[in-house]
């Protein structure tokens, strides 16, 4: 019984952290799908989302309004980032663009230090956070928020990419940018849209995690890297696959930490990344389509 409740606890933890990775991984996938860029400033969107919402709450705004406003503000930051850093350099090589995103992520962290300093801050939980006991394991309402939002985003993305005109246009830009352009789709606009959406989703991830782990200027880096691992493991070309990958990584980390050692959890998840890259580079859950390699 005790072992069972420990397993359940580990599963809850894994799902929570997996949900956070998922929300950031979705951003990776959207931008990658539309522009072909791996955006390493993705984790910084989460950091901005968390810190901006904290500042707004401190300015006495109600929590829900602070969260919505911070998502909007981060989406605007995303738009500015796309127009100034990505769009202007869109004809350079992929490597250049990726390095630009790394540069931007460093700049974002620097800006965050200037605004918020290096001290940790925290956001109140979305709802009353009395732990729920379930078979001796503990689940917090905030964890449910994280898991629930990840699932909502998952469904929304599936719907968006498969059943809406804009979603289809986005996909078209990936499959064949030239043909898409002939069909009257403007890839420039799509690139902007992709970055804005993923910045918004990233900001949401930040506000979800802030009550759980607190927030500080450097939180984005590790989250971004883990989400990247998750996206690659699941499949970079496909949002639902990346989300599945994120939950998988979260659960594997939780079980490694709980049954083995905390120091080894990064070793295990990064080893998994290498293994996947060797064996199944298109990702565990992605349909092999030859769209992108």
């Amino acid at each position: 019984m005790e072992t069972f409740s420990q397993m359940l606890q580990l599963l809850f933890s894994g799902l929570t952290i997996g949900a956070i990775y998922a929300l950031i991984a979705v951003g990776f996938v959207i931008i990658y799908n539309v522009t072909g860029i791996l955006n390493f400033a993705q984790g910084e969107f989460a950091m901005f989302g968390a810190l901006i919402s904290i500042s707004l709450v401190k300015a006495n705004l109600p929590l829900w309004l602070a969260i919505i406003l911070s998502i909007v503000i981060v989406a605007v930051i995303g738009a500015v980032f796309e127009r100034t850093a990505i769009h202007t350099a869109r004809k350079s090589s992929m490597t250049t663009l990726i390095i630009i995103t790394i540069g931007v992520s460093i700049a974002f962290r620097g800006i965050a230090i200037l605004i918020w300093g290096t001290q940790a801050q925290s956001l109140p939980p979305f709802t009353d956070n009395t732990p729920i006991k379930f078979l001796e394991a503990v689940l917090l309402p905030q964890n449910l928020w994280a898991i629930g939002l990840a699932i909502v985003i998952l469904i929304a993305m599936m719907y968006f990419f498969n059943y809406t005109f804009t979603g289809k246009s986005l996909t078209a830009c990936v499959v064949n940018p030239f043909a898409a352009r002939l069909m009257g789709i403007n890839p420039n606009k799509m690139s902007l849209l992709a970055v804005v959406v993923s910045a918004g989703v990233g900001a949401l991830a930040g506000t979800v995690i802030a009550p759980i782990s607190g927030a500080s200027y450097d939180m984005g880096m590790m989250l971004g890297i883990k989400a990247f691992v998750a996206a690659v493991v699941g499949g970079l070309t496909n949002a639902p696959a990346a989300i599945a990958g994120a939950f998988l990584i979260g659960i594997i980390e939780a079980f490694t930490e709980g049954l083995w050692s905390s120091g080894l959890k990064d070793v295990v998840s990064f080893s998994l990344l290498l293994l996947i890259l060797f064996v199944k580079p298109e990702g565990l859950f992605a349909k092999a389509s030859g769209k992108r390699v």
């Binding site: 606890q9 350079s92 300093g117 940790a120 120091g263």
Partner: protein, 396 residues
Amino acid sequence: MKKTLLSLFLLMGALLLVACSSSGEGDASGTESSGDSIKIAGIFSASGGAAALGEPEMQTLKMLVDQKNADGGINGRKIDLVTYDDKSDQNEAILSMKKALTQDKVSIVIGGTTSGNSLAMLPLAEQNQVPYISVAASKQIYMNENGQARKWVFKMPQDDQQAVERILQYLKDNNLTKVAWLNVANSFGTGGHEEFVKHMENYGVESVIEDEFEATVTDAKPLLTRVKKANPDAIIVWGTVQESAVVIKNIRELALDLPVLASHGVATNQFIEVAGDAANDVILPTGKLLIADKLEASNPQKELLIAYNEAFTAKYNKPASTFGAYAADAFSIATKAIEAKGDDSAALRDYIEQELGEYVGLTGTFNITADNHMGLSPDSFAMVRIVDGKWTLEDK
């Protein structure tokens, strides 16, 4: 295309330039510089990442020097304080030290907010044979690789060793002998862990589980399920504010009903803010400034601490911090040396090492000797417990 890239580079270059020029030379804001004044240097990280520590240190030193000069200086000689802000940057710290020693030719240096900066600055003090009182924590600051005292360097804060020993003493006194040790996976954490392993047997404490968590930990519950299984009497969470807050929140969420001890690294009100209700009942060692008004009247530190806190609050309109107290101790020890020996650097060093003797400061009672250039013992820490978001004295 090339043009846009070029302009990006130019922009970055411009940004760098701004950053560099703003970090130009240290501001030499000397108070009066009459012919017969005694020059001392204060080098702190008053801005940048370590500003939370360095700013009160700088402010304390300026305040105390102003007070001293208003009272007529030391033996009738005014103090000429030269301050430098190293902006939490090691290179800046070294440059400031160089400037203080070679251009400003000070008699004694106080400063080095972080251990990294102190370690970077001290070789210059040794080369130039000027006594240097550090306000950072690492043991290596006053001890070289062979465990011997560095000739020209003294240090005000306790080592991690004293904090760990204070916790062990508390565990022993309360008969909590089987403990879980969790430390953050960085130099602060592993340093604490080393001291814990080295000293636990002396206090009859054994660990049933020892493990690490990351500084960026988001959920420590998986780790804590193993702690729960190990069935300890108490849990020690050794880290700084953010990660300790997460782990301690998780302990409360899992309803592990055990005494939780934390490091002196979380002894700030910010910890209570970040951890919220979870901070309640956490027990930790801290300098006595936080609980000065709760000390017994017979404690010789009590009056000093209250006086310092009042003076600092009156001048800067915010509560004094433990870090400022390190600068205050450094200054009062320097003042005593100058009173006795004037401004000769070598004589000042010898005085602090050999003649100062037992000295009651804000941080504790210093007993500086030729072998120990720090001189504090574990009882310079008090054990406090957080009750309803307030610090209360748990032990001594």
